[in-house]
Amino acid sequence: MDYLTIIQILDSMLRLSAPLIFACLAGLFSERSGIFDIGLEGKMLASAFFSAAVAAATGSVWLGLMAGLTASMILAAIHGFASITFQGNQLISGVAINFLASGMTALIGQNWFRLGGRTPSLSGDGRFLPIEFPFAESIGKIPFLGPIYSELLSGHTILVYVALLTVPLTWWLLFKTRFGLRLRAVGENPEAVDTGGVSVSFLRYRAVLICGLLCGLGGAYLATGMAAGFIRDMTAGKGFIALAALIFAKWRPAYALYACLLFGFLEAIAIRYQNITIEGVGTIPVQFMQALPYILTIVILAGLVGKAIPPKAGGEPYVKER
């Protein structure tokens, strides 16, 4: 494996990690406020579809992005409605949202475009194009460090950079602002927050909507940045990998970035090499690489390496004055 190959793998790692980072941070906001969300997948899927559909219809990727964000946030609002206002089971609500997105996108997609659930291919202003950093070509000629700038860092779509910036932003919001302190408190001990005169419901609704917004960015990136259009069930489990990354990261923003980069790296390797043969060990099948994020998460959950402790009030609807 030569140097340029490594750079290329890392480059595709960044590309593949971006949707995971969005979804993982989305889940982080929601779960830190005490609302479990296994509907990340569905929200990303809805956003992927509506962003691609509107971008295809209007030719503007920005209008597409708005549509995607709206769709994702509507699903997030339904989740909030069920789990905050009606104190329903958050996990069941998440399952329902995943199915709703999967069914609706295929149904409406077929109805609008008659392409078997796909949207037309996007081109030009209809999708996010790679941004070349200044002087990328000339700096790329510098040995060793050059390719890191020109190949690895430069040449991604804007949403990849937004994803990377969202990590410190999330950290700042959660750990350096009053809103963040309250949000974390409401996920650990909602009674205390309520006693302090702060509305538990309003806080949780804001967290759930931020979750919808970030899932929407992730979904829009899949359909209009990474690919050029929507295909059926194109999230293909990314929402669940993000959920795994969230546990892997123990609900902390910086670790979430590392976990998503790790899982993106595994995916990049699996795509590039299919079956890996290591001399003296044997062949590692590509299916093992695909299952590895889940296996690693189980290992973490089993407490073999550290212990993942979720927010204390997670999954419990808050009932005032019992």
Binding site: I97, G103, I298
Partner: protein
Amino acid sequence: MKNLPKWIDLVLIPAINLFLAFMISGLVVVYIGENPFRAMQIIINGSLGSAYGLGYTLYYATNFIFTGLAVAVAFHARMFNIGGEGQAMIGGLGTALVCLFIDWPHWTIALPFAIMSAALFGAAWSAIPAYLQARRGSHIVITTIMFNFIAYSMMVYLLVHVLKPKGQMAPESAKFVAGSNLPSAHDIFGWFGMAFPKSPPLNVTFLLAMLACFLIWLFIWRTRMGYAIRAFGWSETAAVYAGISPFKIIMVTMLVSGGLAGMMSINSVMGEAERLLIDSVQGAGFVGIAAALMGRSHPLGVFLAAVLFGVLYQGGAELEFEMPAVSREMIVVIQALVILFTGALENLVRVPIGRIFMKLNAKQN
């Protein structure tokens, strides 16, 4: 509000929830530009209107009964087993291993062994999440989701690299030995001199599913263990105080649940495909969640809900044929809405109904 009469809890509220789900689905059909009443008529005619349709409807229902019971049993211990999909997949592996490598003289001998193997494999796949929940407190929902994906990767690997016969392109196992083929509804009706179409995959497993409903009812409501499971589900602290071991309850419940999900493969793998395919479950594990929610975790309710989803699956296939604008995914939407209204948004209906009932009661007194 806790003292709602049983018929309101078990019949009226699910009926209203179902009505809401169907109403919104109907609006979706209107949006697409078709007549929802005609769509409903096609669904009912296509699934119940002929022996052919009924054969498919009950075949699907058989799958959903097993996965529905699996989710329902776990619900009684207040656990959400979302891993039916993976457990059924691995159960299929258990069924396939029994039916591939042993030359069975007759299906009546093959069937008990296949059932044992399917249940054992399914239960084994739920054992690790159960153990992690019981000993480490890892959330069963998260672990069973992860195990669904791991199961899928494992099945792809096994079918592509291990079980696929040499020289075959499609990633599926060889055909099972002839002695393991279960009698279809066509055969069974034939024994009594009655006619039933040959193509529907409905087979003897349907009777097995009905038996499973009865046995699960016995288990949950008529055994000491079942009582312990329900007590644990109502209040863990009270159960512990009564000397019930949470570890034991979680393990037993999840093993039974996984075993039931695994037994679904008797219907789909041994009864229908007669070989192991990559996706032998086709989402039935998730339909089981809807069936268990609608059926209020009672075997009879699960049975009825499973038949309803059988109607939707078979009718949905006919619908796509008759109304090309309404694709098969309509069923997924209906399923999502049923899960949403009967599961997550339950209080949307329950609270107002409870209030109305209280008022009526107060007047009477």
